[in-house]
């Protein structure tokens, strides 16, 4: 697969065969060092993050929105800072939130995000926010919620009948909610757009891991998604916009050094790849494929 031809000896030859463990060690040092010695690199919000922020900021006090924790414990480092920043922003604006999750381990994550922030802002469960919990059938849940939140979730996560929850008197289906927020580590954000945005005309903003964020561009450009946050950078941009720098902003230093190191490794690998070929070319033996 590599196609390199080995030249006897030489440091350039060794550069083509750096042990993976050296690379792993380099990444570990590059990422850990800024944690110990913060650089405080400035974060500049992008257009997508500004649109996401505005989608929430332009809502009125008392509006009910839907928030879906569509991620598991593995991507908490990327998406928890987003969740925290968004919930703080929503409660600051006195928005009311109907929360749910499409991931089994999203329940624990949601509770660890919602509880402390609700307490911080003096919000009451059942009145200012409600957690409907986890439902195994994600597509059925999305479609059913378009008809009725209460019918989809007869009880909330804590076994309380949703018929008795005051918040749901004001919003029982997507037509009653001006915005849906999905923080997703997989294709759930796209499914919300396809099933709910397409069928019910729901306005949607999404927060995604950096890998998944690239997939949201077509939906953002066509207006199906009003704005999105991509990875830890997106979370740090949102923190900058809300004026509450947190875990994401702190993490940008490490992300910067990590990316720079990866670029250096790639350039090093290419230097090592091409150097033996140039030597063979100058000695008149021709270039290999």
């Amino acid at each position: 697969m590599n196609g390199n031809e080995r030249q006897p000896g030489g440091w350039i030859d060794r550069l083509t065969r750096i042990d993976r463990r050296i690379i792993f060690l380099g990444v570990a040092i590059a990422v850990a060092t800024p944690v110990l010695v913060p650089m405080g690199l400035p974060v500049k919000p992008t257009r997508e993050s500004i649109d996401f922020f505005n989608a929430i900021d332009t809502l009125q006090a008392g509006d009910v929105i839907v928030f879906s924790f569509d991620y598991g414990a593995d991507v908490r480092a990327e998406l928890d800072p987003m969740s925290v920043a968004i919930w703080q922003h929503c409660f600051e604006k006195d928005l009311r939130i109907v929360a749910l999750t499409l991931y089994p381990d999203g329940v624990g994550i949601a509770e660890q995000v919602m509880g402390p922030i609700a307490e911080q802002f003096g919000k009451e469960y059942g009145v200012d926010y409600v957690f409907l919990g986890y439902n195994a059938d994600w597509s059925g849940t999305m479609l059913r919620m378009g008809e009725s939140f209460r019918k989809t979730y007869p009880v909330d996560q804590y076994g309380r009948s949703t018929a008795e929850i005051p918040l749901l008197d004001h919003a029982d289906r997507f037509a009653d909610t001006p915005l849906l927020i999905s923080l997703a580590s997989s294709a759930y954000a796209e499914w919300w757009v396809t099933y709910v945005g397409g069928k019910f005309g729901q306005k949607i903003v999404t927060g995604n891991t950096a890998i998944q964020a690239v997939l949201i561009y077509p939906f953002y450009q066509s207006g199906q998604v009003l704005g999105f946050l991509g990875g830890l950078k997106g979370a740090s941009e949102y923190e900058a916009l809300t004026g509450r720098p947190g875990a994401a902003t702190r993490g940008m230093d490490s992300q910067s050094t990590g990316h720079v190191l990866m670029v250096l490794f790639i350039l090093l690998g290419n230097l090592a790849y091409f150097a033996p070929r140039r030597r063979r070319g100058s000695s008149g033996t021709g270039r290999t494929a």
Partner: protein, 261 residues
């Protein structure tokens, strides 16, 4: 009695016309294929390599590992994966090579067990099928990846297949497979994972090449006919896109009026 016009949601008329047109294309080409018309598919290197990959495993006396992806049977990529698994399992049965199929979804596991069992029976070797080889791993994404990596390090399969829907765990598995020296063939419609598969696998089926997999390997007329219908629909879509772009560029209509919201 509800008047007839109220029966149809006219806002979705374009989608209905598209669906019916596409359905007509499929039926037409399936009938053509059934009538014996030869339908050609271009060479797909990843699928051509299946035979070689199975043979390699047999020569080395090592098993084959087949990961059918992380999603359930309602995902098209998983359906396509089961089709490819059937073809791979048939070849595996002929060569008497063990195949391991770890599953993340219990439904998929049930279907995979049936597919592999039938493939062994079709090859005349039902005795070789071992139910423990097609097993349920865990629903946890990275728990599944850890299980697959552990299996790779212990059993050292000669060939790894990653066919289906994958997410962030894909690179963890393929890099581990690389470290064990296995040939790796991947196929997915998860375009976020395609760069990782292309970097770390020997062959990669991109998007629709995965859906074409079962038609390619089996050469069944029905499947080939559907594939041709897909291609024709794509040609039509390209033509409409070009026409729309030209008209929008000429100012024939304001394309912004069609944006949602």
């Amino acid at each position: 009695m509800i008047p007839f016009p109220a029966w149809l949601d006219t806002a979705r008329l374009a989608e209905l016309v598209t669906a019916l047109s596409f359905g007509t294309l499929v039926v037409y080409f399936v009938r053509r294929a059934r009538s014996g018309v030869d339908i050609q598919i271009r060479r797909i290197p990843g699928l051509e390599a299946v035979e070689e990959a199975v043979g390699r495993a047999t020569e080395m006396g090592r098993p084959i590992l087949y990961c059918p992806g992380l999603d359930s049977m309602d995902e098209v990529a998983t359906v396509a994966s089961m089709n490819v698994l059937g073809q791979v399992a048939r070849r595996v049965a002929e060569y008497e090579t063990p195949i391991l199929v770890p599953n993340r979804d219990p439904f998929v596991m049930t279907v995979a067990q049936q597919v592999v069992r039938e493939a062994y029976a079709a090859a005349g070797r039902p005795d070789l099928y071992r139910e423990g080889d097609v097993y349920y791993s865990t629903y946890s994404q990275f728990g599944y990846a850890a299980n697959v990596c552990g299996t790779m390090m212990r059993t050292k399969p000669a060939t790894n297949f990653y066919i289906g829907k994958f997410y962030a765990e894909s690179l963890v598995m393929t890099e581990t497979g690389n470290a064990t020296g296995a040939i790796q063939i991947a196929g997915t419609d998860s375009d976020a994972q395609l760069p990782f598969f292309i970097c770390s696998c020997d062959y990669t089926l991109i998007g629709e090449e995965l859906y074409a997999g079962s038609a390619y390997l089996s050469r069944e007329p029905l499947l080939l006919g559907t594939l041709r219908a897909q291609d024709m629909a794509k040609v039509a879509a390209i033509a409409i896109l070009l026409l729309g772009s030209l008209l929008a560029a000429a100012g024939a209509f304001d394309s912004r009026a069609y944006l949602p919201g």
